[in-house]
């Protein structure tokens, strides 16, 4: 009896769900998002989900956005991507570097579906890549940090020593030393993108070793909270984190995917989508700076704004020479600037960063 009842329940469910899904697929185009963390991380994934919501808001009934969160960068990601593709999604954003190969594999099997892979370097006819030049934001921040530090020590909480993170450290260091040649940068790697307790502890360790400006390339606002309670400066990551550190946050480097996601969705709806490589920075709006702390002196704000505008109009190039690598060899000669290929694989520190880059 019981068995029969359950099976009939499932039967009814199958019909009901079938009808529901059938009607959904025909009415609107589905846009999928695959996240590596929970949308509640308040960092990387959270900002991508804000972008998704912007798409939903912009196109309303015309599209249906879906997402799967906390997808691990292993065998699961390929299945989820494939499931979305098979399920009739028109466009799928895979928002973590580790999704690169799975995205390409699935893309091969679904030539009519468009894919957008964040922070990778492999493309195909139906796979675009996109990323942000966060280092441009960090260059502006470096100018502020170099001016604001009294101890001439800047602390940097790093996640993993990958080029993306190293680039940020270097850009910040170059900028800070351009306004204050005495600055040195200390880095503490926490071997995680996200562990509030450990990130906070790293910030404390850096402050205890003399740092009075804290930057971070990890996801939680814990380092800012530490800075706030210790009375030093800090810079937010991914979102405006001033809520967590109203006094300490100088500014924040904000990821803003909204515009890009809306534009790419529109391209798919219009049929104008092409495979591209987008590496947008301050100018494109993919990187933004949160409002400056009112405690920053006007001349420093002016310097920061000048730098920001300079980067936007191209008159300032963060990785322009002359500067040296940490080992004293030439990083870029005067009149030269590093090209994107070098930036993409950057695995050395510039002069002014302390400690050796873990290899």
């Amino acid at each position: 009896m019981k068995l029969k009842h359950i099976s009939s329940l499932f039967g009814a469910a199958a019909i009901a769900a079938g009808m529901l899904m059938g009607s959904a697929a025909s009415a609107e185009d589905k846009i999928g998002f695959i996240y590596v963390g929970p949308v509640g991380d308040h960092g990387w994934t959270y900002r991508h989900d804000v972008g998704r919501q912007a798409v939903q808001k912009e196109f309303g009934d015309k599209v249906k956005t879906t997402f799967v969160e906390s997808v691990k960068e292993g065998p699961d990601s390929e299945r989820v991507i494939r499931q979305m593709a098979a399920d009739g999604h028109k466009l799928i954003f895979t928002t973590s570097f580790g999704f690169m190969n799975p995205t390409l594999k699935v893309a091969k099997q679904f030539p009519d579906v468009k894919f957008e892979h964040a922070t990778g370097y492999k493309r195909a006819d139906n796979v675009s890549t996109y990323s942000s030049r966060f280092y441009e934001g960090r260059y502006v921040v470096g100018k502020i940090a170099g001016k604001m530090t009294k101890s001439n020590v800047i602390g940097y909480v790093g996640s993993f020593p990958i080029p993306e993170v190293v680039r940020g450290i270097n850009a910040m260091t170059l900028a800070a030393r351009s306004v204050n040649p005495n600055v040195t940068v200390k880095v503490a790697w926490v071997s995680t993108w996200y562990d509030p307790g450990k990130e906070g502890d790293a910030a404390k360790a850096l402050i205890d070793q003399g740092a009075d400006v804290i930057l971070q390339h990890t996801d939680s606002p814990a380092p800012l909270q530490v800075a706030e309670s210790r009375g030093v400066w800090a810079v937010g990551q991914a979102s405006d984190m001033s809520k967590f550190a109203p006094k300490a946050q100088l500014t924040a480097i904000v990821d803003n995917w909204d515009g890009y996601y809306v534009a790419r969705t529109k391209a798919v709806l219009d049929g104008t989508w092409k495979s591209e490589d987008t590496w947008g920075g301050l100018k494109s709006g993919m990187v933004e700076l949160a409002p400056y702390n009112s405690a920053i002196p006007a001349d420093v704000v002016a310097l920061a704004e000048e730098t920001r505008k300079g980067i936007e109009d191209g008159s300032i190039v963060p990785f322009a020479g002359p500067f040296n690598k940490q080992d004293g060899s030439v990083g870029a000669a005067a009149g030269e600037a590093l090209d994107d290929g070098v930036l993409l694989g950057m695995n050395w520190y510039v002069e002014g960063v302390e400690g050796q880059l873990p290899k």
Partner: protein
């Protein structure tokens, strides 16, 4: 107490098969409440969790892809658990198996030999077994508790993997991103069913199920494991060495976990990444108990567990349910399954006997 739990003289064969159904019924009932609370049509939610993931041949094959590492790890662990050897570090052994096994490809990427993959599988087993050998050594030599040592070694293995993938194992053409080059064809697990990801590792998992079944039922070592587990003293009188069983069960479990790790990297992942397993080694512990530490039970338990993961993904895509719901839902399914198992060995009875003062 009005209701009394009473031990059955013999375990109930009927209940062995009936309890999973009771658990399922209870899950359905309580999910109705959960999903109503979340404002989702419960019928549809259950459909998405249990039925929709098995729509097509491809999705069906994915069930086995997902279940393969769970099955391998759980089979290995269950033998230890039968002997009261509490290896909870399968996650680390899986990681080490993947590392040691794939080292062959990483250092000899040009090899096209047909022996490459078999050698990698064997190295994977050795890597996992060696990592499990550490708790075995510390347990037999220093009496160090294996629950703790095996758990601590999980973190060490994962961090070691991180060192390799962020360092020497990076793809030379990969712009210093933390992943190895993708495996060549001769290092890849053969696909069993074209158009799917069903790979040779799944066959290995089936073999492990059969092998463990035979071993526990037919061999002396299986008998020793059971005796040591159920009555260590009796085992001692019979001349069975406790130390030998500790070594055997840990090495066996480690080897299977190592194979699981290797078949993940040279199967569906196809390269070495900073994270190889989303916690299969830990989930396998639950799977082992859900399967009542019996190979056949574990076979079905790993499929069920895999189904809830797949269902969680489907529910996210189609219903927008957050991944957190999957955790709650999985927790509920497991609670009911574990709880209803009481009926196999016990029965409920109305307490009619008059209370006698002690």
């Amino acid at each position: 107490m009005l209701l009394k739990i009473e031990k059955r003289a013999e375990y109930s064969r009927v209940m062995v098969y009936l309890t999973p159904i009771i658990a399922l019924a209870l899950t359905v009932l309580s999910s109705v409440i959960l999903f109503e609370l979340l404002g989702v049509n419960p019928v549809e939610a259950l459909f998405q969790f249990f039925v929709a993931p098995l729509d097509t041949k491809y999705e069906f094959s994915e069930l086995f892809v997902k279940a393969t590492p769970l099955m391998l790890c759980a089979i290995g662990l269950s033998v230890g658990f039968r002997a009261n050897v509490w290896n909870i570090g399968a996650e680390g052994q899986l990681t080490m198996g993947a590392i040691v096994g794939s080292s062959l490809f990483i250092y000899f990427p040009e090899t096209e030999s047909v022996f490459l993959l078999p050698a990698m599988i064997i190295m994977g087993a050795i890597g996992g077994a060696a990592w499990a050998g550490i708790p075995a050594f510390l347990k037999t030599r220093f009496n160090a508790n294996e629950i703790l040592t095996s758990l601590m070694l999980v973190y060490v293995a994962i961090l070691f993997l991180s060192v390799l993938v962020h360092g020497p194992w990076r793809d030379p053409q990969g712009f210093n991103f933390p992943e190895s080059q993708t495996f060549s064809d001769s290092a890849d697990m053969p696909i069993l069913l074209s158009g799917t990801r069903l790979h040779f590792g799944t066959l290995l998992a089936f073999l492990a199920v059969l092998g463990a079944w035979m071993m526990m039922a037919r061999t002396l070592i299986g008998f020793q494991v059971k005796v040591i587990g159920e009555a260590p003293r009796a085992g001692g009188y019979a001349g069975f060495s406790q130390k030998k069983i500790v070594w055997f069960t840990l090495l066996f479990g480690g080897a299977l976990a190592g194979v699981a790790g290797l078949s993940e990297v040279s199967g569906p992942i196809d390269q070495v990444l900073p994270s190889i397993s989303p916690g299969y080694g830990f989930t396998a512990i639950i799977v082992a108990f859900l399967g009542r530490l019996h190979p056949v039970g574990i076979f079905f338990a790993s499929l069920l567990m895999a189904l809830t993961y797949l269902g969680g993904e489907t529910a996210q895509i189609n219903l927008g349910l957050p991944v957190a719901v999957t955790g709650v839902f999985q927790g509920m399914v497991l609670f009911f399954l574990l709880a209803s198992d009481v009926l196999v060995h016990y029965r409920f009875r109305l307490n009619t006997a008059r209370k006698v003062a002690p």
